[in-house]
């Protein structure tokens, strides 16, 4: 029986109180115990970026964070960025510009770029590329990811196009 600890945190604005094993990573906690499987696990040692979530608004690798460490924190996963009927401007732009291929890296790309756009609403293309330097897309779909981010900048500034498809 491994040691446990009770944590309280906000996950996508909802208060959560759970007893967690201290060796449980945040990524496994989110996926297996909270049921938020939008956060993907690629490498489990902090290299691929797929598991990126926001901790108090700052991007972090959930595979390198213990669940017990987010006690008292505000955790945002990809599920917290928008929902099926109301995508965030960044998510909408990813859809419009074909910013996802297989979709595995997408949650990490979206959380990382959400932080970028919150801090820098008018990034250059090279700033976007630098921001996602810690996120690997093995489809190598970077071009459309960068394009989608630049489109998201416009959506945020000028509003989303009315013709935007709504996902069922």
């Amino acid at each position: 029986m491994s040691e446990t600890w009770t944590i309280k945190c906000l996950i996508n604005e909802k208060p959560v109180e759970r007893e967690v094993s201290v060796r449980l990573t945040l990524a496994d906690f989110l996926r297996h115990e909270v049921g938020l499987t939008g956060t993907h696990l690629g490498c489990e040692h902090g290299v691929c970026g797929a598991c990126t979530v926001l901790l108090d608004g700052r991007s972090a690798r959930s595979c390198l964070t213990l669940a017990v460490q987010v006690d008292g924190m505000n955790v945002t996963t990809v599920e917290g960025l928008g929902d099926k009927t109301r995508l965030s401007p960044l998510q909408q732009a990813f859809m419009d510009e074909h910013g996802l291929q297989c979709g595995f890296c997408t949650p990490g790309m979206l959380t990382t770029l959400t932080e970028l756009l919150a801090n820098n609403p008018d990034p250059s293309e090279s700033e976007v590329r630098l921001a996602i330097s810690g996120n690997i897309c093995r489809c190598t779909g970077y071009e459309n990811i960068v394009k989608a981010t630049m489109t998201a900048v416009r959506y945020i500034r000028d509003g989303m196009p009315e013709s935007s498809e709504v996902v069922d």
């Binding site: 060796r23 990126t52 700052r58 991007s59």
Partner: protein, 287 residues
Amino acid sequence: MKPPPFSYHRPASLDEAFALLGSLENAKVLAGGQSLMPMMNYRYVMPDHVVDLNHCPGLSGVGVEDQTLIIGAMTRQCDLAANDLVARHAPLLVDALHWVGHVQTRNRGTIGGSLSHLDPAAELPAVIAAYDATVTVGNETALRDVSIHEWAAGYMMPAIDENEIAISINIPLSVELDGHAHSFFEIARRHGDFAQAGAGVVLQTVDDRVTDLRIALAGVDIAPVRLRQAEEFAIGKSLTEDVIDEIALFAKAVPGIADVHADESYRQRLAVVVVRRALTQAAGPGP
């Protein structure tokens, strides 16, 4: 890949942390977790106890006291990069931080963690060596200052006891270095990856002549190296292209480590290149 079982401790004060480290066997300190956690996931490190410093007050933040820039060991890399005092007094740190990992790791990673992990390729220890800083470490009974030049006891092994914690990094400020030029350059397989060679340069000139030069290498030897001979050679000289080439060649004498990505001689050649580029940038016209 999951961390092996361990007991978790969350000290609410430094004294409590000291007491824990003084009494527990096989304990590891958790700072930002960007090196310890991968090593635990890989099971290179299997501590029985993890002491989480993230709730210990007084370990993070930047201040100036007695002509010294004092950086709390738990100050996160992203906060250092945005700090005005750091930008003013130790701008090479800001240059180097752009090369440290990625935004996600800088948001969590700490300066004390980088120093205590002491990866040969780490940029921050090299910058701290360029600034001739000391590191304050402590345990239950005493605090002491360790010169950065005596910090490395071996490969990934800082010269501190298992019950000691890095508390702060202390960078001495001098009038002579006011407004110094600075540059960091490195070569890695991709941006944010471990450097195969990196160089940090702190440069002061008066009337176009070098009055102070510090060159620190990362990723070449097992620990940061200062190119003392090159630094002395440069004093009084004007940094023309030829002089910069001559200075950079001193880097070839540093024994390079070998790994799967670069053998010793290749690393030594890279060392010359990174010194030349960093120095050229530092000596060039200001921004």
